[in-house]
């Protein structure tokens, strides 16, 4: 008779899929690299310094928190802290002092993430919370100066995306030097104010220039002023395409978000109703970065398909309300933070109908 022997016990399933948290996070880091390269290209080595400091601070803060709370410090290497660090750096202008990303990242990790229980448990996007903290604490450093995208790109470029030659043709253009595209758009909403500063017909001229092919091109390439990571539309799209190909990015979130931005950009993003420029509203500001990398942050957004669409639409509406009527030119980060808060509620009310389930409550 065969001799009997014993074995380890375990729960089914007894095999596991290839995907791990670290691989997911590594893919996100890889997807952010093109935009990081663009940041260095347009804003110089200083951009690289800020990103490195931010990532290092995020990972160090994660490590210290885990150590302090006696939890496995290996989580600090799962890549999620690095992603937060990169995103935080992507959300500051290149002109900030070196300690700004360190402070922001540390706040993001300690208050935004570890205070809630670490990876998977945070309620809002840590990087955006870090940014909100920085904007509230250091408004001048964070929003007052927008360096022009010179760096290694050669030539001189305006911060607004409008080419220098065209800018020179606009009367009173001195008044708008150093403005970002969205900043300019915001100024046009106050037609009288802008006309007083710049002269008759200025708002119309500015709008025309913002919606011109050369401005679109600058927005797409990244030859505009702005936060480190948000400028180069095309490289953000490239990174997002990589994530979609790797099955990491759930396309419903960015599509519903950017779709809403485009729609509302047309509805109320122009001079009057229904004459806005959807393309401009999608390419300008931080919505490509936000849409592909923060609206779609797994931890803080719904897990259901329907919920993801609702989240995207909700964030899109809030972004566009802020852009049009709010106190800031851009509403991307606050819209995501606000929607993060209702994520559990969305999940609860969008539970899919199970196979064969008959809903009693309708």
């Amino acid at each position: 008779m065969a001799e009997s022997r014993t074995f380890e016990l375990a729960m089914s399933p007894h095999v596991e899929g290839p995907r791990t948290t670290r691989k997911v996070m590594t893919d996100v880091v890889i997807a952010l690299l093109p935009a990081a390269a663009a940041a260095v290209y347009f804003f110089g080595l200083r951009a690289l310094l800020l990103v490195v400091l931010s990532v290092a601070a995020a990972m160090a803060a994660e490590y210290l928190c885990l150590k302090f709370m006696k939890r496995p410090v290996s989580f600090a290497l799962d890549g999620s802290a690095a992603v937060t660090g990169i995103l935080l750096a992507f959300n500051v202008p290149s002109s900030v002092p070196w300690w700004i990303p360190i402070l922001g990242s540390a706040f993001a990790i300690v208050v935004g993430k570890q205070a809630f229980g670490g990876i998977g448990h945070n309620i809002v996007n840590p990087a955006l919370l870090g940014r909100a903290f920085l904007v509230a604490s250091f408004p001048v450093l964070m929003t007052a100066g927008w360096p022009a995208p010179s760096g290694y790109s050669g030539g001189t470029w305006s911060t607004s995306g409008i080419s220098q030659e065209r800018l020179a043709e606009i009367p009173g253009a001195d008044a708008i030097s150093g403005a970002t595209p969205l900043n300019l758009m915001k100024q046009t909403f106050d037609e009288e104010g802008m006309e007083t500063r710049m002269g008759e017909g200025a708002p119309e001229r500015v709008r025309e220039e913002l919606s011109s092919p050369s401005t679109y091109w600058n927005l797409l390439v990244g030859r505009i002023g702005g936060c480190l990571g948000e400028t180069s539309g095309i490289l953000l799209i490239l990174g997002a395409a990589y994530l979609v190909a790797r099955g990491v990015l759930e396309i419903r979130l960015p599509l519903s978000y950017l779709g809403t931005i485009a729609l509302l950009g047309w509805v109320w993003g122009g001079a009057g109703w229904f004459d806005g420029d959807p393309l401009f509203h999608v390419l300008a500001g931080g919505v490509l970065l936000g849409g592909f990398f923060m609206v779609s942050d797994m931890v803080t957004t719904p897990v259901t398909k329907k919920g993801r669409i609702i989240f995207g639409i909700g964030a899109g509406v809030i972004t566009m309300v802020i852009r049009r009527w709010g106190g800031y030119p851009e509403g991307c980060s606050y819209s995501i933070l606000l929607m993060n808060l209702v994520t559990p509620l969305i999940d609860r009310y969008t539970r899919p109908r199970a196979l064969g389930e008959v809903r009693q409550d309708g």
Binding site: M1, A2, E3, S4, R5, T6, F7, E8, L9, A10, M11, S12, P13, H14, V15, E16, G17, R19, T20, T21, K23, V24, F75, D78, S80, G117, G118, I119, G120, H121, E250, M298, V299, T300, T301, P302, V303, T304, K305, R308, D347, R351, P352, R353, A354, L355, G356, E357, V358
Partner: protein, 436 residues
């Protein structure tokens, strides 16, 4: 070949079927001692009819049916009863069994063989299937006669023979279709006759093109199915083929469908044509923890250790032994457990194959939601279970889970989602019992 069908959701674990898929079925002689489980079928264990010292013959009923959802159990050998006792079982901690010392394994024809089954009424066929102790051979072991006896008012119009075999590694059904296709089709015809169903079909995943071709050449209607786990789960198979959704908490017969495994069809043929109860089955002995993966025809009650020895013994780095496939199978503490009618595979995994991941927190990636073939939200149900919020788990549909393991397999954080959900199911059911 028709259009390739499938269901929504699911995942793609590596098949690993080439380890054993080319090995023809070999008959393993009965061992010195067979331990016949009396709880092989789903439902009440059968009641012993023999005691220590009794001599029994092959095919003899050693325990009788004990209730509606129950079956009789038969001796697979001629021999002497050594003991009637509780012993470790591959599908539960322990259960009643009859230990029999083997003298020989001839005979077994205890019923009148019916060469022409259509000369008998469907009721007679169903009665024979019951007396022969036929249960689902795909793993769940539900008494087959019960599935063939729909309550009045339930019209059955579709019979699907399940040759999907979507569990990785397993090849027993595949080999059965290739080597005994005629019997499989005859069994399908018998089942269709018993149900009064015209045009039964057989569902096979397209990773078994030889089986599809063979069954079609024998005149069967094959429904080719996409290779995706859990394509062979009853509700998913029905959804794929008919587009009908089995209602939550309901049975396939609620939508007019009966699904039977190809191994069950073979057992039906043995019962009806050969007059023999279910006493043997084909088992895939495989995994990289096995030296010579094989498909063996074994007597029910044969210890796993004998099967492994017949398959060349264990490889050096074997760590885990499983009754069934890797997705839903049950890990065994010892290989001194007997083959039961539902044992489709004895899987020995090497340290490299066996899941070893340490759980990390959920990152809410939603992969489990996209993959759940029952369209549940596994991550949220699991969280409710972790916090012992049983009512919330029930509201989230925990009872609809069929424990296929897709969510746990796909989870990047290595979470044992299906384990939490099964725990929630147990607690919800226990609470309901208490209330009632």
């Amino acid at each position: 070949m028709g259009k390739v069908k499938t269901f929504s959701g699911g995942t793609h674990p590596p098949g690993s079927k080439d380890l054993s898929s080319s090995g023809a079925i070999e008959r393993l002689p009965a061992p010195e001692l067979v331990r016949v489980s009396l709880c092989q079928h789903l439902g009440a264990p059968s009641k012993p009819l023999v005691k220590k010292g009794d001599s029994v013959t092959r095919g003899q009923e050693v325990a009788e049916q004990n209730g509606f959802i129950s079956l009789p159990t038969h001796s697979p050998v001629n021999g002497t009863v050594v003991k009637v006792e509780d012993a470790p079982m591959p599908h539960r901690r322990s259960g009643p069994s009859v230990l029999i010392k083997t003298e020989s394994e001839e005979g077994g024809r205890v019923f009148e063989p019916w060469e022409e089954f259509r000369a008998h009424s469907p009721e007679e066929i169903i009665e024979r299937i019951k007396k022969a102790g036929v249960c689902g051979m795909g793993g769940a072991s539900f008494p087959t006669y019960v599935k063939l006896s729909p309550p009045p008012g339930k019209e059955i119009d579709t019979l699907i023979l399940n040759g999907v075999e979507c569990e990785p590694y397993l090849t027993a059904d595949h080999r059965l279709m290739l080597e005994q296709g005629e019997d499989v089709i005859l069994g399908m015809e018998m089942l269709a006759y018993a149900l009064g169903v015209e045009n039964p079909v057989i569902g096979i995943e397209v990773n078994k093109p030889d089986a599809i071709e063979h069954m079609e050449s024998l005149g069967a209607t094959v429904v080719p199915l996409k290779v995706k786990y859990p394509q062979g789960a009853e509700k998913q198979l029905i959804d794929a083929h008919t587009g009908r959704e089995v209602p939550a908490g309901g049975l396939p017969l609620d939508v007019g469908v009966v699904v039977q495994n190809v191994g069950t069809a073979k057992a039906v043929v043995q019962a009806v044509r050969d007059g023999m109860p279910t006493m043997e089955r084909v088992v895939t002995v495989t995994g990289r923890g096995i030296n010579e993966p094989s498909n063996l025809l074994v007597q029910v009650g044969t210890p796993f250790s004998e099967l492994v020895e017949a398959a060349g013994g264990y490889a050096d780095d074997v760590v885990r032994l499983i009754n069934g496939g890797p997705m839903m199978g049950i890990a065994q503490y010892t290989d001194d457990v007997p083959v039961i009618k539902g044992t489709s595979g004895v899987l020995a995994l090497s340290s490299e194959e066996a899941r070893q991941s340490v759980e990390a927190p959920c990152i809410r990636c939603g992969k489990c939601v996209d993959a759940c073939p029952m369209r549940l939200v596994p991550s949220l149900i699991a969280r409710s279970a972790e916090y012992e919020q049983w009512e919330q788990a029930e509201r989230q549909g925990a009872l609809n889970c069929m424990a296929c393991g897709t969510c746990s397999y796909i989870c990047p954080s290595g979470r044992y989602l299906v384990h939490y959900i099964k725990r929630a199911q147990e607690m919800i059911r226990a609470l309901k019992k208490k209330e009632a």
